[in-house]
């Protein structure tokens, strides 16, 4: 036990990083107080380790070791490199909001594309408001969420009024341009009653970025009858760490369909805390991990059916090659009657050393619910591979076709054709690099 505690790395404690950053962290008074409290909460717990149930497969004391200091403010050269990276990952027709090394970059963003009924502010602007400190407080508690609250430098706060249907997708692009430093961002999305929006989040590296850390959080409120399509793509540098939390509250009769794809980064954790707070709300959440080399990709979801007659459907697929390690933990908490929740997880292991931990889990507190979960893992089917080779496909191409088919079931859940194409193209590119 003492050994694990020693691993928090006393030579470079997180408090030094926090203290050094104080001069740059926006907000005074109540905000500064909330930051200090959040940091205390983080420090008490330290980096999450394997003896915590929520982090049992992802021991950050081993995988991440230390919190890196804040990346410097991006200079002109950094912004030029960031611009090139943005061009590579921009979704056609999207209204971009770009954060470079954790700092909002207005010149790379499309603020003018947000029309009437949509309010966009940066986090520093928002923290000036009397209730600004609320931004730093969430219902979900976790050491890494606390650390994020303490250290957040920037982010966007997007609010859609009642009945507003925003047609261009909002794309938040996180670009890293530095090495051995970290970015702390937090964004808010609020959809009014019957509002409609598409949110795409992209995490990418500019030329020259390496071994950096991304610490991100998104807090979303989905109003009554509102509709959100959500896509998140983690394409960070191969040696980067990305720790992200999504905290979402879904109100009555609202629908959310969310898709996460992780194929970048050496250590990634995506933790989603979703509360179906209003009756008859619907959630469809699908995740795909594509991992090779020594990548460690963790997706952890907690779906709380707090109101009656809500449905949630989760489909998780991972493809793991080399010595990659995929983790999926999914929990459905069925508190309310007539909850319907399913969680299906499937792992495809392409090498003998690839590893997958699939842990779907149900907690049922009501007596009239329909919930189910399943987990499978396996290799590519030899008989299918031979059939394809007997039709002339070289082995790698045959594998690629079968992997695409394996992922297809989850990808087809993306209703929007543009987003589906965006994901498929990235899957194809990933398969291309395997050859």
């Amino acid at each position: 036990m003492t050994l694990a505690l020693a691993n928090t790395n006393p030579e470079c404690p997180a408090r030094d990083v926090f203290t050094a950053a104080l001069g740059r962290l926006p907000g005074a008074g109540a905000v500064a107080y909330a930051r200090a409290r959040a940091f205390d909460a983080f420090e008490r717990a330290g980096l999450p380790h394997q003896r915590l149930e929520e982090w049992t497969c992802t021991d950050l004391r081993v995988l991440m070791r230390a919190v890196l200091p804040l990346a410097p403010l991006p200079d002109v050269a950094a912004l030029v490199r960031a611009k090139a990276a943005v061009a590579q990952t921009a979704l056609e027709g999207a209204a971009k909001l770009v954060l470079v090394d954790g700092v909002f970059a207005p010149d790379l963003s499309d603020l003018a594309a947000f029309g009437e009924g949509v309010d966009v502010k940066t986090v520093p602007e928002f923290l000036e408001y009397p209730a600004g400190a609320d931004l730093l407080i969430t219902f979900a508690t976790d050491p890494m969420i606390s650390l994020n609250a303490a250290m957040v430098t920037d982010g966007v706060v997007v609010t859609l009024g009642d009945g507003v249907a925003l047609s261009p997708p909002i794309q938040i692009i996180h670009v890293a341009t530095q090495a051995l430093s970290s970015a702390f961002t937090r964004s808010h999305l609020k959809l009014g009653k019957s509002a409609q929006a598409t949110l795409v989040e992209s995490f990418v590296a500019a030329d020259g970025a390496s071994a950096y850390q991304v610490h991100d959080a998104v807090i979303a409120q989905i109003g009554e009858g509102a509709n959100l399509s959500h896509l998140r793509v983690v394409a960070d540098a191969a040696d980067a760490t990305n720790i992200s939390s999504r905290i979402m509250t879904v109100h009555e009769k609202a629908t959310v369909s969310s898709f996460n794809m992780t194929y970048g980064g050496t250590v990634t954790r995506y933790q989603g805390f979703i509360t179906l707070a209003g009756a008859r709300s619907e959630l469809s959440i699908n995740c795909v991990n594509l991992l090779n080399d020594t990548q460690h990709g963790d997706t952890t979801l907690v779906i709380d059916h707090a109101a009656p007659r809500c449905t949630s459907e989760g489909n998780f697929r991972c493809v793991v090659d080399d010595r990659g390690h995929s983790v999926f933990q999914g929990r459905i908490i069925a508190k309310a009657q007539k909850s319907q929740g399913t969680m299906m997880t499937r792992a495809l292991l392409l090498s003998d050393e690839a590893k997958a931990d699939n842990k779907p889990d149900l907690q049922i507190f009501a007596d009239d619910v329909t919930c189910g979960h399943a987990a499978t893992s396996g290799a590519l089917d030899d008989s299918l591979l031979f059939y394809l080779r007997a039709r002339g496909l070289p082995e790698k191409e045959a594998q690629a076709l079968l992997i695409q088919a394996f992922l297809g079931e989850a990808i087809e859940e993306i209703a929007d054709a543009g987003l589906r194409e965006f994901v498929s193209a990235r899957v194809a590119r990933w398969l291309e690099t395997r050859r």
Partner: protein, 258 residues
């Protein structure tokens, strides 16, 4: 020179010897039928010719168009013109049949150094071929063999055979899982593909299929060898007398027939 020459082929799976010195020669344009009881090694022969992993060739050779087939990967054999129609075509959920056909066809063309088909050319070709084989267009809108009936699966195999234009087709128990009408339809498709430049090896238990696909040569296999070869009347003979005469004693049987 023979199109396909199998000489003294010995094959084992794990520790068990399945083919024990099989010899077979197929010339261009010929239709050969291979009959024999369960376990005589018919399907093993087809798998070894196609290059399925898991079989150990301990002796003998397979020469196709003058080249050593055993040295090639399955996909190379296909590009050279070998086609195996599977006894049980697999279902591949999530792979659309048109994507599959196009990927396969272009992979073969690429391996032969030919240009790949463009989308319109490919669509035109599939339409033509499927029409000539009476294959309904809606069958082509599904996943590969997913939800296909036994007959549809076999017709899909024949469709591929027609598209890929192989010079040697091996039909592994095409009649299994088919009712009489489906068998007739599938056999008609095969007959439509008979040509002087194309040889076929038809593996079957029953003479019935050979009423529809009339062979030039009939071979009887037992215990991993060809124990008798003859004309199409040999199949009729077998239908009347059964395989009993061939079971067990292998070579001794030959003497009885002589």
């Amino acid at each position: 020179m023979a199109l396909l020459a199998v000489k003294g082929l010995k094959v084992r799976v794990k520790e068990r010897e399945i083919l024990r010195g099989l010899t077979l020669t197929v010339n261009e344009g010929e239709i050969h039928a291979i009959m024999g009881p369960n376990g005589s090694g018919k399907s093993t022969l087809s798998h070894v010719i196609a290059g399925k992993p898991g079989y150990e060739v301990t002796d003998g050779q397979i020469v196709f168009k003058g080249e050593d087939l055993l040295k090639m990967d399955p996909e190379e054999r296909v590009a050279k013109g070998v086609f195996l129609a599977f006894q049980y075509p697999v279902e591949i959920p999530g792979v659309a049949i048109m994507t599959f056909l196009r990927t396969a066809l272009n992979a073969q063309r690429k391996a032969r150094g030919e240009s790949e088909f463009t989308t319109p050319d490919f669509l035109k070709k599939v339409r033509e071929v499927s029409k000539s084989l009476n294959i309904p267009q809606d069958m082509l809108k599904r996943g590969v063999n997913v939800g296909f009936s036994g007959g549809e699966k076999k017709r899909n195999e024949v469709l591929q055979m027609a598209l890929f234009e192989p010079s040697l087709c091996i039909l592994d128990e095409m009649d299994s899982g088919l009712d009489i009408d489906a068998l007739r339809i599938a056999a008609d498709c095969v007959n439509a593909l008979r040509s002087p430049g194309r040889a076929m090896v038809v593996i079957t238990h029953y003479q019935r299929l050979l009423n529809c696909i009339v062979p030039d040569v009939v071979h009887v296999m037992s215990k991993g060898r060809v124990v008798k070869s003859g004309g199409k009347e040999l199949a009729l003979e077998l239908e009347a007398s059964g395989y009993a005469n061939f079971r067990g004693r292998g070579l001794a049987v030959l003497r009885i027939f002589r």
